[in-house]
């Protein structure tokens, strides 16, 4: 039976940058234990939607709630952040640290886990994303783009979060590596029983990851429904977008 408990709620969120309004009264919910994929054209505010939920941006009006609690801006010291894992589009690995130090960053600096144990847990997390232990002491720059993305995924899941955000997880990867990343994401989300929110332009990725799909247009949600609804063309604009068909209406 489907869990209808709301995990994350964006409530009438408005966000502008200068004169450009990106989100205009956006309402959206992510249900507990389900995987929501947000799609939409470039510059429609998909990344902003995630960054608001992470407390990296402050909404001009409205609010984002996780488990009914409003997300505070700049809340890195809030224990609530520790239940969140985030995979950034570029990986956002720290160049100056080794792979295992990247993966165990939160364990070392926020949870104050001892170095030896942190390294063991980092290697276990690398194993979960099909990476060998022998890359643990390498620097991120020595790895391929696909491996860097997997290291970033290991970093996102090492603390066993119950919410996972993925920002364009397959952008810039070849189709085979992209498929591997999709499979790893699905496996990790299932293993952790986490609520996942992914933004992507990659329709193969959407089909692999999503339980539900939401499309953003003109600063708000144009359509939100189950993955099956995308294929049955419940909304023609969504249908065109997913099929990659140009539509003069956007």
């Amino acid at each position: 039976m489907r869990d209808e408990t709301i995990k994350i709620a964006w409530k009438s969120v408005t966000k502008s940058f200068g004169r450009k309004t990106v989100l205009e009264g956006l309402d959206l919910v992510a249900y507990e234990g389900r995987s929501l994929v947000i799609i939409g054209g470039s510059g429609t505010g998909k990344s902003v939607t995630i960054k608001l939920a992470l407390g990296l941006l402050r909404p001009d009006s409205g609010s984002v709630e996780i488990d009914g609690e409003a997300v505070e801006y700049g809340r890195e010291n809030d224990p609530g952040v520790q239940q969140i894992g985030m995979l950034f589009q570029s990986g956002a690995l720290f160049d100056s640290l080794s792979v295992w130090e990247n993966v165990s960053f939160r364990l070392l600096h926020a949870e104050h886990v001892k170095k030896g144990e942190a390294k063991e847990r980092a290697i276990a997390a690398l194993d979960q994303v099909d990476l060998e232990a022998d890359i643990a002491d390498r620097r991120p720059a020595e790895l391929s783009g696909g491996m860097q993305r997997r290291v970033a995924l290991a970093r996102a899941v090492v603390g066993k979060p119950n919410i996972l955000f993925f920002d364009e997880p397959t952008t810039g990867l070849d189709p085979v590596t992209a498929d591997l990343i999709n499979q790893l994401i699905v496996r990790q989300v299932k293993t952790l029983g986490a609520t996942a929110v992914t933004i992507t332009h990659d329709m193969a990725s959407m089909r692999a990851i999503a339980d539900e799909v939401a499309m953003i247009r003109d600063g708000n949600i144009l359509w939100h429904g189950d993955l099956e609804g995308v294929d049955s063309c419940e909304n023609p604009t969504v249908c065109d977008f997913v099929a990659g068909r140009y539509s003069p209406e956007g």
């Binding site: 985030m86 950034f88 570029s90 690995l93 160049d95 960053f105 939160r106 600096h109 926020a110």
Partner: protein, 258 residues
Amino acid sequence: MSLPNPFRATGRGVLALMRSAGAITLFAAAAVFAMVRPPYFLGQLLSQIWRIGFLSLPVVGLTAIFTGGALALNIYTGGSRFNAESFVPNIVALGIVRELGPVIAALMLAGRVSAGIAAEIGAMRATEQIDALHTLSTDPMRYLIAPRVLAGVLVLPILVAIANVIGVLGGFAVSTTSLGFDGAIYVQNTVDILTRWDVVSGLIKATVFGFLLTVMGCYHGYNAAGGAQGVGRATTNAVVGAAVLIFAANFLLTSWFV
């Protein structure tokens, strides 16, 4: 009625300058707050002391020795016009310790350190590494900014003390080899002229300059926007801003100390 364009442009410029000054002041206050509140990232601090301090030694040392030598030559040439050549050791020592040592070292570090910090933190901003720190329950102000600013404050006085010694030695080398000064008398005159306050005031200046040049690097890097071009702009602004602030602070501190 709208103002004529030159006034409007000047007003806009002044407002932008004041906005920047306010933002930098708030950022500096946040950096100080982050320095005194745990958690402390000792590994980061030691790494920055190494990078800002030890790795800057060659450039600071070379600059100091050439400045000391050139200063001796200029004072000798100028002093010979009114039979004051014998003051070379005194003026070189005072000039280096009170003024040139701190200012030259700080300017070299504005080029080397402020630019490096702005580029590094700017690149971290562009590649979302700073956002990643937030999501990993780590405050970037404490992890990135505080160790750099603290390292600048701790290391600059040491670098300036070394620059002072090397600068005076530069003057000594030129004076004894080219200008006919006796080495023992040169050293005696140098020691006699310097007071403890001369040395301490120079080191206080160095501490202030260390704070300013690291804050400027951190501020411009942290607020970099617009990809590679933004990082380049941040680097330029950090160096120019740090240099201007060093000169302004030098004037204020000198007026206060004399």
